[in-house]
Point group: C2
Chain length 219, copies 2
């Protein structure tokens, strides 16, 4: 879905081990990355302040789009598990205009999708209750882990509880308690980082999503 014409400018596939950094503000900006496998987190590191997680990235998603304009990376992007990415070289300043129209169009469409996605995440973060924030987060991860095939019902959370709390603006303990509660209520069982979503409609409901159209075969 994110992999049409953009693949034409892909130079090489790079593997990034858990804990390794893909970009940080001290690195020169050369390329945008397309996640092929694994998962990443984006961190905002301000000296003298607690590091803030501002996003997670799954296969099919592009990382570093915010760096194109200023041609410098604003954030640190770190692999949560062993992962791989492809580089999309952006060339020198001004060279963008010389790329093929198709390439640029693909880029614009991908960025439009990303802006939609970011706005949805803002909707998620701007919600009052911890329960809803966590439900929406779980639902979002379930969906994104499963590139395009609807929400996965069984998967492994690539990030720590602490990361989830940091991202959502909640204490780790709150995340833990809510997840336990989801287990007890039969919505999703969590054993360590292994997630099994047992009541997807309930989770979706809590997350505040509309029911997806019911695909009933005509009688």
């Amino acid at each position: 879905m994110d992999e049409t014409l953009l693949d034409a400018v892909v130079s090489r596939r790079v593997s990034v081990k858990k804990g390794e950094v893909l970009t940080d503000p001290s690195m020169s900006f050369e390329a945008v990355f397309s996640v092929k496998s694994g998962a990443f987190k984006t961190l905002q590191q301000v000296p003298g302040q607690r590091t803030k997680i501002i996003g997670f990235h799954f296969p099919g998603e592009l990382v570093g789009l915010e760096a194109i304009d200023a041609r410098r990376h604003h954030y640190t992007v770190e692999a949560l598990v062993n992962s791989s990415v492809c580089e999309l070289h952006m060339g020198k300043v001004g060279e963008l205009a010389e790329r093929s129209g198709e390439f640029q169009q693909e880029m614009i469409l991908a960025m439009s999708r990303r802006i939609l996605h970011d706005q949805q995440m803002q909707a998620l973060l701007g919600v009052q209750s911890a329960e809803r924030r966590i439900a929406a987060f779980l639902y979002s991860v379930a969906t994104r882990m499963n590139a395009g095939h609807g929400p996965a019902t069984e998967f492994r959370l690539p990030m720590l509880r602490e990361d989830v709390g940091n991202y959502l603006g909640l204490a780790v303990e709150t995340v833990s308690r809510m997840l336990s509660q989801f287990s007890q209520r039969g919505i999703a069982s969590l054993q360590g980082r292994n997630v099994t979503i047992s009541d997807l409609p309930a989770l979706r409901e809590m997350a505040g999503h509309e029911e997806p159209p019911v695909l009933t075969s005509p009688s």
Copy 2:
């Protein structure tokens, strides 16, 4: 800043009165809008749920970028005060590739800036304390109202307290109390919607921003 080559495809200037709707999901997608004056809010309206505000837009900012990919509007955008916008026609499906390289490049750069901005907003929303969320919000509005000239110290808030609370995931009363507190502490006086920021460094500090480089003239 957002007004270089993009202005070439601007067709007409439209004025939108307070409370009027610029886009909503039932309208066909034709164009992206560049805010020229005034202010807007973006709403996510899900039937049977409280309307969620997911963003505000000020002069120089582009509205509707998330609609380019699916070629449909996902949100309702409403004017908070009497405003004006310019339309940037996006043409038919696929026509994007035929636009000039410069146009497309401008578009990509503008979208990159927007993605950076949205990520900063996510950092804002993913913060624990109400105080910090409101401080960061105020600082953001002060900056964006004053297109490019640094944060304004005197301006009129275009949105309701309720809108602020809705956006930040806080009760209206909390917003009100915090703002009163900022007044008492001599950080910013608020009389109705009129804001005067009296201690900008303190506000920036609370908002969790780094000090901007001090511009001392060489001695």
